[in-house]
Structure formats: structure tokens, C-alpha cells
């Protein structure tokens, strides 16, 4: 927005921009607390509104705490290992400062705070220099929540319960074929730094609706990727020089544990 346009916008708009900056900008709290009137002046507020900022300085700062708590609140539960790692390093707050200042959280859905954090890590590369696995670890932690909450689909009609050579695989909507360059699934709160090494994982909701994953070989992962794209089983297997019997066993196992809905 140009300065001329800004002058023309309403006082309501300017006041909302001012409070948003106070809440989300990393240095917003400090610069506001130092001089609320200057903070308002910098954002185009008139003298009377600047004076109101001064008058309610302490209480406006309460909003900064409330909003930031609300935005940060779901993250430790969704990313327990990532959170523990950064807490231990004394960098969780700095990470949150940078995340909130990025204004990546844009969805009306509160549950989208978690994927916004992963998207921000990917975009900003925050922390990757020190912890090259950080984004992948956070992604795997988030995937559990995404899989658990993925929308249910209506039962598919005309599915065969067992695969054959000509089958096309119908995956459960929540199932994810994942590939990481770190052993993210082996990270724990006590040992949060995963070793480097390929990890091919199939994440899914099991028969009870709980999150589960299976580690795959590189070939099995590539085979399932082809199946996800709609290739018939035999063609996907032969493209990877896999035995048909072997892949049929694999698919039968994943049908039994809930990762697949069936076969067409």
C-alpha cells in the first residue's frame, strides 16, 4: 500500500494493523513497550489514537501474550520431539518469534497452525544449518496428526478384497507414502536427532483408526508410488523388476492393516 493510499484508509484499519504488528512482530512487544505513541505514529495513527495506546499500554501488551500463546499452544503436542530439541537448545522461543513474524498462519482453521509451521520451516529453512534433519523430523511428526484427522471417505463400491496382477490399488485417503533422508521415525524425546539414512515409510490409519507406519524398502516404496498413480499391479512390479507374488503379498498385508481400501 502506498503512503497516499494509506492516508485514505480508515482509522479502524490502521488500528488493527497496529495491534497485529504488536502481536506478531518479533520486536513488536519491545518497541511498543518502549514508546507506544511512536509505535502508533509509525503506523499512521492520529494523536488521539496514539495517546490511547499509551494509556492502555500494559493491557495491549496482554493481547500480545494471549494471541502468541494461542498460536503456539498446539505446537508442542504436535511436534513433541522437535519442541523438546529446540527447548533443550534454548531456541524454541526464537523459533516461535521467527515463525509468528512470518505471518504464515493464515487459515481460519486452528488445526492449520501445525501444517503452517512445517510450511514455514520449509520456506525459511530455519534451523537447518544446525539441524539438517529438522524439517523432515517436523514433517514426520505432523504427518501423524494429518493421518489421524484426514477426512473419512464414503465406502468405495465394487472393490475386490484381494489383489491380482491386473488390479489397481485403491488407497485409504489418509495413507501417505513417505521418503526421508533421515531416520526420523527412530527419533525420540530422549534421542531427538535422527541419524542420516534413507527412510521409506508408509503411514496410515490402522483398523482401529490409530496412526501406524511400516518401514518399506526403496523398491516397495517406488512400487507403491506407481500404484498410487494408478498403474496396474503387474505393470508397476515389472517396471521395478519385482516379483508379482512378492508385491501381491505386500498389498494383501496392507489391505489387512487398513492402509488400502481394496482393489479394482
Amino acid at each position: 500500500m502506498t503512503e497516499a493510499t494509506e492516508q485514505a484508509v480508515s482509522s479502524t484499519w490502521k488500528l488493527q494493523r497496529c495491534l497485529t504488528d504488536l502481536i506478531l512482530d518479533a520486536e513488536g512487544g519491545r518497541s511498543f513497550a518502549k514508546d507506544p505513541m511512536a509505535f502508533g505514529e509509525d503506523r499512521g495513527l492520529g494523536r488521539a489514537d496514539q495517546a490511547a495506546l499509551e494509556k492502555f499500554k500494559t493491557r495491549l501488551l496482554v493481547y500480545r501474550g494471549l494471541a502468541r500463546n494461542a498460536l503456539e499452544d498446539p505446537l508442542p503436542d504436535c511436534f513433541p520431539i522437535t519442541h523438546g530439541l529446540l527447548e533443550e537448545a534454548g531456541l524454541w522461543d526464537a523459533c516461535m518469534d521467527a515463525f509468528l513474524a512470518s505471518r504464515t498462519i493464515q487459515s481460519a482453521y486452528y488445526r492449520h497452525v501445525n501444517p503452517a509451521f512445517v510450511a514455514w520451516l520449509a520456506e525459511s529453512a530455519w534451523g537447518l544449518e544446525r539441524w539438517p534433519f529438522l524439517l523432515q523430523l517436523a514433517h514426520f511428526e505432523y504427518i501423524e496428526v494429518e493421518i489421524l484427522r484426514w477426512p473419512d471417505e464414503p465406502p468405495a463400491a465394487d472393490l475386490k478384497p484381494a489383489p491380482d496382477a491386473d488390479s489397481r490399488v485403491v488407497f485409504e485417503g489418509a495413507t501417505r507414502n513417505l521418503a526421508y533422508a533421515y531416520r526420523v521415525h527412530e527419533a525420540t524425546r530422549d534421542d531427538p536427532e535422527p541419524a542420516a539414512g534413507e527412510a521409506f515409510l508408509l503411514g496410515y490409519r490402522d483398523a482401529e483408526g490409530d496412526f501406524a507406519y511400516s518401514e518399506l524398502s526403496a523398491h516397495a516404496s517406488a512400487f507403491l508410488a506407481r500404484c498410487l498413480e494408478g498403474e496396474p499391479v503387474s505393470r508397476a512390479a515389472s517396471a521395478l523388476n519385482l516379483e508379482l507374488e512378492e508385491v501381491l503379498d505386500l498389498l494383501t498385508r496392507f489391505k489387512e492393516n487398513g492402509a488400502l481400501l481394496g482393489f479394482r
Binding site: D49, Q106, Y110, P151
Partner: protein
């Protein structure tokens, strides 16, 4: 409600005998889902749910929610529409909300008179409006637009606030009343919010309510709050049991509304077990019933 009202006949004074939305209901919360879904019948007259927490979800918890909601009755209460803000509404979110309102048969949908997002960035906090003519005009326009979109009448909730945003041109009370009248919408009267504001800003809650358009009230909220010594402030935490002065305020206003509008018990922090919450609901129901007894029959 003035002419042109779209309030459901279910809540008109003539149709009260049909109205399932009366008495004290409870906000449905995650820790209670499994237990409530397993019950043969609903333990409350009605539930309230935030559509944002349900739409577009799946999995076992979601199925529990939907089982409970299908049993109904259900009222819906939004958290993030940011009616007082400037950001455009996400069409997918709006369409999902409309579908959900039809699915749950909620007789109305409520939202807070506040803003939650700016410049595309969401704060997920109920932020205060400036009490100005400019903000009234802006909010009325947005409220009319949202009312024209929704398949059910729209209610505004009065929020708790901790600071005036900018130099006020009017009182909070006048601001809220002007928006209600200008947008011609219903009122979700949050009695705890009025109490919290009265304590934080040093006014009399009953005086605040007098002269307000109580004919617009379709629903009430009641909740607990928390005193923060460090900030010398009561915060609307929904994290404690409702205190007696708030219950007394509810009892004071109900006869003045003159209709047994539904009251919803909210609890969002330090959520107790279901039995404890239901016991609090039962206690509030007694207070609610007593509010409609003839003055001589009351023992308070």
C-alpha cells in the same frame, strides 16, 4: 427483533413449546467425546460446537463428534470469521460452514463482535474493535454480508476486552448496540463477558444491560474466568467454574429478556471430567429455572 428479521420461528414467543433450545447446554469438548458418544442419550438439553473444529476432519474422534451431533440438538458458534476485520472470507471455509449449518440444523449461527485476522495473518485471538463510528459502519457492512451468505440467522456475541483500541468515540455498550441495530442481527449475550468487562473497567454490569436491546437476545453464554494478579486483570479464560456473581447476573437478566433463551456453559481450559461439568450444568439449570419463578417463590 425489528421488521425484516430472519429469526427462526422456533425461537419466537409463539413457538416456545416447540423450542428444544432452552435451559442450560454445554459446549462439546474433545476430552469428553468418547464418553458422551458412548451414552445412550444426550446428557444435556443441547450442545454447542465450533464448526471450525469439525468441518473437513475425519478419523475416530471425528466420528464420535458426528455421532453426538447427529443426536442433537446442536447450536453452532464460530471463532474465526473476523467479522470486524478486513480480510476477505475464504470461499471454501464459508461454503463448508454453510453445509455444516444445514447438516446440524442449528437454528442460528453466532460469532464474536471482534476481529481475529489482518492482512491475511490470523491471530486466533478475539481482538477488540475500536469503539468508533467508522468501526460501526465497517462492521455493520460485514455483518450484513455474512448474514446474506448464511442459511440461518446470525448472532453477534459481546466479547470481553482488556483495552480500548484507539480513542473511543462512544462507549462499548453503545458500540455493541449500534452494530446490533445497524446489522439487524440477533444477540448472543455472554453474561460472563459483561461481568469481566465490568470488573476490568469499573462499571456496573446491571446498568450496562439496562437499555440494551434485550429483545434481540437469542442465546446466552456463561463461563468462568481467572484473575491475574500480575496484570491486575480478569481474563476470560473459560478455565474455572462459574462464580456466584455471574450466576446472579444471569438470573437478573433472564426475566428481563422475558423468554427462556438457551444458556450455554463454556469450558475451554482446565477442563474437568464430564461428571463434574455435568454437575455444574445441573446447578446452573436450577439457577436458570429459579430465575423464572415468581419473585415470591424464589429463595435467593
Amino acid at each position: 427483533m425489528k421488521g425484516g428479521s430472519r429469526v427462526s420461528p422456533l425461537v419466537s414467543s409463539k413457538g416456545m413449546e416447540m423450542n428444544p433450545f432452552t435451559g442450560v447446554g454445554v459446549g462439546l469438548r474433545r476430552p469428553h467425546l468418547e464418553q458422551v458418544a458412548a451414552l445412550d442419550a444426550s446428557p444435556v438439553p443441547f450442545w454447542e460446537i465450533a464448526p471450525e473444529n469439525v468441518v473437513g476432519q475425519g478419523g475416530s474422534r471425528h466420528r464420535q463428534v458426528m455421532k453426538i451431533l447427529e443426536r442433537g440438538p446442536v447450536l453452532t458458534h464460530g471463532l474465526s470469521m473476523s467479522i470486524g476485520g478486513y480480510d476477505a472470507w475464504d470461499r471454501d471455509v464459508l461454503d463448508s460452514l454453510k453445509g455444516f449449518l444445514k447438516e446440524t440444523k442449528s437454528p442460528w449461527h453466532s460469532e464474536h463482535l471482534c476481529w481475529t485476522s489482518f492482512g491475511g495473518a490470523t491471530t486466533h485471538e478475539l481482538l477488540p474493535m475500536p469503539f468508533t463510528r467508522d468501526a460501526v459502519k465497517h462492521t455493520v457492512e460485514r455483518a450484513k454480508r455474512i448474514q446474506s451468505e448464511l442459511p440461518v440467522p446470525f448472532l453477534f456475541e459481546n466479547v470481553s476486552y482488556y483495552a480500548a483500541l484507539g480513542e473511543p468515540e462512544m462507549s462499548e455498550k453503545d458500540f455493541f448496540a449500534e452494530v446490533l441495530e445497524g446489522a439487524d442481527c440477533g444477540w448472543l449475550l455472554d453474561i460472563n463477558n459483561i461481568y469481566v468487562n465490568s470488573r476490568n473497567f469499573g462499571f456496573d454490569a446491571r446498568e450496562w444491560l439496562e437499555g440494551m436491546p434485550l429483545d434481540r437476545v437469542r442465546q446466552m453464554h456463561i463461563a468462568g474466568h481467572t484473575w491475574f494478579e500480575e496484570d491486575q486483570l480478569i481474563i476470560d479464560t473459560h478455565g474455572a467454574a462459574v462464580i456466584d456473581p455471574v450466576i446472579e447476573l444471569m438470573q437478573w437478566v433472564l426475566p428481563r429478556i422475558g423468554r427462556p433463551v438457551p444458556v450455554l456453559l463454556e469450558r475451554d481450559n482446565d477442563i474437568p471430567g464430564l461428571e463434574i461439568l455435568l454437575a455444574e450444568r445441573a446447578s446452573l439449570q436450577k439457577a436458570y429455572d429459579a430465575a423464572f419463578e415468581p419473585a415470591g417463590a424464589r429463595h435467593d
